[in-house]
């Protein structure tokens, strides 16, 4: 008793010949089907090349177009040929010309001999698995598909739409429950004979002739009728990408393939010389390996699909550029933006760096240059501090900064004196944490000794800008985590907000705040605001500051809780 190999060959005939000889040498009879599209002379040469092997036969040729009936017809006739021609065959293994046996053939023969009644065919109902690409899962069984998807895509789509519109459903033959699965199976003589000699075969064939991709459903469905013992898995290692195309194996997959312990792999790149050399010349005999274990290969290919479909978050590059309206248009990692803190506290930046271990920059969007941490003029990724380069594309500046420093938390200062072009971008970024002490821009004005009229103008401008920024931060489209305190509220009880900010950043949360940053001396600030008001410019963003500082905080009852926008 042995296993018979059916090979469906389309291209790379010299590789097919090599593999057929390999099977033959190990005592497996082979029947080859060559696609009718292969020119006559090429085919004749191929047949002549294998003429020296009596156990390698050829079956009637059909035109095999992907997704059409031809492939099933070819398989049927090749199977009939192998069952008739070789009575010793107990299992028939369906392979393609791009398949490569990875283990000694003897191991496959032993494996099957130990399971003489088992049919290895992946077979699942459409309702239960989300395999199909392009949506036609159930529909492939209830509509007709007379047009080839590859050549007549337009007609294919239109005819399907028409049938949907007219609700022209077909009846599935009564005894059949549509199943699908990999077309690379290994069936027992018993099951295969039952399928091929079924009195109702004509009905089945007529039905499947107009099903889409029947090679993934014909045997998978009919095996369910006749087999008592289905192992719903394929013995062939075959991975598919996100468009349903098989992944291809190259020389550098040698170790992965070798360790997978699978019997057969597809699809092999025809010029992968090392793979063919290694696996077709390995010593016969048994290595004592057991069940196939494709886990590692699965992971490699699953990652590839993931990369193609989801990509690396926060990366903007030549082949990944999420649209403006895409939910994927985010930065690579969480970061924090502080507005008003370095104005209100003398040593906010070093304090924050100390307390969190994050990298704390100054005003990155300042008009003169990007104030990177520690006064650097360039930062990771050779990102320059030039304001011109930054303002040429502030979006890219931000995403580059966060991408380049991934693994390290970034914090930076922001304010109404900075480039505001980045506001919406940050507000819509779920990775951003924005903490604002509104009105704190007035502190440096109050502390600097300049012409009051000039101060008044600057104050008016800054207030207008900040007020616009705040309305952005309060809009319903904001995805960032936003906290806004008026300066008056913040000054009254700064500990709680600072603690909350540190907790957000997430380092050393367990420890209570041991050291607080030093607040600037605000005596006389109330008077300064009053002077502005007297000049007709009403500063309102900072809340109420009494003209004379009160003796003791009497307004203890008013809790300075931050309010969260989302």
């Amino acid at each position: 008793m042995t296993v018979g190999i059916v090979m469906l060959v389309h291209t790379a005939l010299e590789r097919a010949e090599q593999v057929a000889r390999h099977w033959d040498k190990a005592g497996c009879p082979v029947v080859i089907h060559v696609d009718k599209k292969v020119p006559r002379e090429t085919y004749d040469r191929f047949v002549a090349a294998l003429a020296d092997r009596p156990d390698i036969l050829f079956s009637k040729r059909y035109r095999c177009e992907w997704g059409t009936w031809g492939l099933v017809a070819a398989t049927q006739s090749a199977c009939a040929r192998i069952l008739d021609g070789f009575p010793m065959v107990r299992h028939v293994y369906l392979t393609s010309g791009a398949c490569l046996p990875l283990r000694p053939v003897q191991e496959l023969q032993d494996y099957l001999a130990a399971r003489p009644q088992t049919d290895f065919i992946e077979s699942a109902t459409t309702a239960d698995v989300p395999w199909t690409v392009g949506g036609l899962d159930e529909e492939r069984f209830i509509y007709r598909f007379p047009f080839a998807w590859r050549r007549h895509r337009f007609l294919f789509d239109k005819y399907t739409q028409l049938q949907r519109f007219l609700r022209l459903k077909r009846n599935v033959p009564a005894n059949l429950v549509p199943h699908m699965g990999s077309q690379w199976w290994c069936l027992t003589r018993r099951t295969l004979t039952a399928i091929l000699q079924d009195p109702a075969r004509k009905t089945h064939d007529r039905y499947f002739r107009r099903v889409w991709i029947p090679d993934e459903s014909y045997f998978q469905t009919l095996a369910r009728l006749y087999s008592n013992n289905i192992e719903s898995r394929s013995l062939t290692l075959s991975k598919f990408d996100f468009q349903g195309k098989p992944h291809i194996f190259y020389d550098d997959h040698l170790q992965l393939l070798h360790r997978s312990d699978c019997f057969v792999a597809r699809k092999i790149w025809p010029r992968a010389n090392r793979l063919y050399e290694k696996f077709l010349t390995q010593p016969a005999g048994v290595s004592g390996r057991q069940e196939p274990n494709p886990g590692k290969i699965d992971r490699v290919f699953a990652k590839a699909v993931q990369r193609r479909v989801r990509g690396r978050a926060g990366l903007y590059m030549q082949s990944r550029y999420p649209r403006n309206d895409s939910k994927n248009r985010v930065t690579a990692a969480p970061y924090s933006v502080f507005q008003g803190f370095s104005e209100l506290f003398e040593n906010f930046e070093p304090w924050l760096a100390e307390a969190t271990g994050a990298r704390v920059h100054g005003h990155l969007f300042a008009p003169d240059r990007a104030h990177f941490a520690n006064g650097q003029t360039t930062i990771n990724g050779a990102l320059s501090d030039s304001a011109v380069l930054r303002d040429y594309n502030p979006d890219a500046f931000l995403t580059n900064l966060i991408w380049n420093t991934r693994g390290e938390r970034q914090c930076f200062q922001f304010g109404p004196g900075d480039n505001q072009a980045i506001n919406w971008r940050i507000a819509k970024d779920p990775n951003a944490q924005i903490s604002v002490i509104s009105g704190a821009w007035a502190v440096p004005l109050y502390r600097c000794k300049a012409e009051f009229l000039d101060l008044r103008q600057r104050a008016a401008r800054l207030q207008k800008i900040e007020s616009e920024h705040l309305s952005v931060l309060r809009s319903s489209e904001v995805k960032a985590r936003v906290r806004i305190w008026s300066m008056a509220d913040f000054v009254e009880a700064p500990m709680e907000p600072l603690q909350a900010i540190l907790e957000d950043i997430g380092s050393e949360t367990s420890r209570r705040l041991s050291e607080v940053p030093r607040m600037v001396d605000l005596s006389g600030f109330g008077q300064f605001l009053q002077n502005l008001k007297n000049e007709g410019m009403h500063p309102y963003l900072m809340g109420d500051f009494p003209v004379e500082p009160e003796e003791e905080p009497a307004k203890q009852a008013k809790s300075p809780r931050p309010y969260l926008v989302r």
């Binding site: 990408d241 996100f242 468009q243 195309k245 992944h247 291809i248 190259y250 020389d251 550098d252 790149w269 010029r271 490699v300 290919f301 990652k303 590839a304 699909v305 990369r307 193609r308 479909v309 989801r310 990509g311 690396r312 978050a313 990366l315 903007y316 590059m317 030549q318 082949s319 990944r320 550029y321 999420p322 649209r323 895409s326 939910k327 994927n328 360039t378 930062i379 990771n380 990724g381 050779a382 990102l383 320059s384 030039s386 011109v388 380069l389 040429y392 594309n393 979006d395 890219a396 500046f397 580059n400 991408w403 380049n404």
Partner: protein, 336 residues
């Protein structure tokens, strides 16, 4: 844009092809080995001028990668490049004395050669100082990539230009014929590129890198474009619009994913900054045969006087393609 826009693009493409057909009279064939071409050969197209010192390594690099034939336009070299190329067994050579600028920086000449010889072939269009890298290029030949692209019905493959530079002054380590220029110029900027989508041609417009940082800090909008689509399964109806930055029909420019995924892409290592550069910048600034009135070269020429230092402490040293993949400059996409 709609139908009208598409129609305009169709005419723009026809105009480009017509230009290319007119410009064919400027080319005189020196050596024509194109009858040797086989249907699946990967072809390389290039225009060059006075690059003799770079040619031995350049040809070798691409031969090893799997390029079967080189189709080269020699724009009036006087350093022996033409003679050297004519002697190579896999080079077909054309010569012209006409203006590089008037042929739209060589694009017209190459468009003509591509439509005549490239139809149905995978065509790589690079300059003599550009070295193509693609995922797995250390273990898989170029036709593994093109076979895979064919099987995915992908017609164009993007590869961003990555400017390479040495540490120290350009003159410190002179380049000799046959040397790997990337042994001298082995540093690059890894994360200061900015990009935008071009609504007209649908390509990404990438700028940045050391050139924007050092030569164009005050005029970033004039910094050179770094987006390139050098590898295309050519069809005689295609045309490059502007260097290899973009093509028509526009669908070929969609080498990026807009929904968060990554398409496979490569990198063109740009080994321009060698000791030969300063001299060249001065000459090209005078000839004014380059883009934007050779503004780029004029800026370089001015800077080169002060011996420009491109290297800084955040420069990355080049190791291999996997490093560039991790840094996010190129991607394997779903090729595994």
């Amino acid at each position: 844009m709609g139908i009208l826009g598409s129609y305009r693009m169709r005419w723009a493409r026809k105009r480009l092809r017509y230009r290319a057909r007119l410009k064919r009279y400027e080319l005189s064939s020196i050596v024509d080995r194109t009858p040797d071409l086989k249907p699946d050969d990967i072809l390389l197209f290039s225009t060059l001028r006075n690059e003799k010192v770079r040619l031995p390594y350049f040809l070798d690099y691409y031969r090893k990668m799997g390029v079967r034939h080189f189709l080269i336009v020699d724009n009036d070299s006087n350093d022996g490049s033409g003679e050297y190329l004519a002697d190579q067994p896999d080079v077909s050579l054309w010569h012209t004395e006409s203006s590089y600028k008037k042929s739209r920086y060589g694009v017209d000449w190459l468009n003509h050669l591509q439509s005549r010889f490239g139809h149905g072939h995978w065509c790589l269009t690079v300059d003599a100082d550009e070295f193509f890298l693609y995922p797995f290029c250390d273990t898989r030949p170029l036709d593994a990539l093109t076979d895979w692209l064919d099987s995915c019905s992908i017609r164009a493959f993007g590869a961003m230009l990555l400017d390479m530079y040495p540490k120290g002054r350009l003159e410190d380590e002179p380049y000799q014929a046959g040397m790997n220029p990337l042994e001298i110029a082995c540093w690059f900027d890894s994360g200061n590129y900015s990009m935008e989508r071009n609504p007209k041609y649908w390509n990404l417009w990438i700028q940045g890198g050391p050139r924007a940082r050092v030569f164009f800090p005050h005029t970033p909008n004039r910094a050179p474009a770094l987006n390139k689509i050098p590898l295309v399964k050519w069809d005689k109806r295609y045309a490059y619009v502007n260097s290899t930055h973009m093509l028509l029909p526009r669908g070929l420019n969609l080498v990026y994913d807009e929904w968060g995924g990554e398409k496979a892409s490569g990198v063109l290592l740009h080994a321009k900054f060698l000791n030969t550069f300063g001299e060249r910048a001065v000459e090209e600034a005078k000839r004014k045969q380059h883009f934007d009135g050779s503004f780029e070269y004029q800026t370089y020429a001015k800077a080169a006087g002060n011996s420009p230092q491109l290297w800084n402490s955040w420069s990355e040293k080049y190791i291999n393609w996997r490093q560039l993949e991790i840094l996010g400059l190129m991607s394997k996409g779903n090729w595994a």
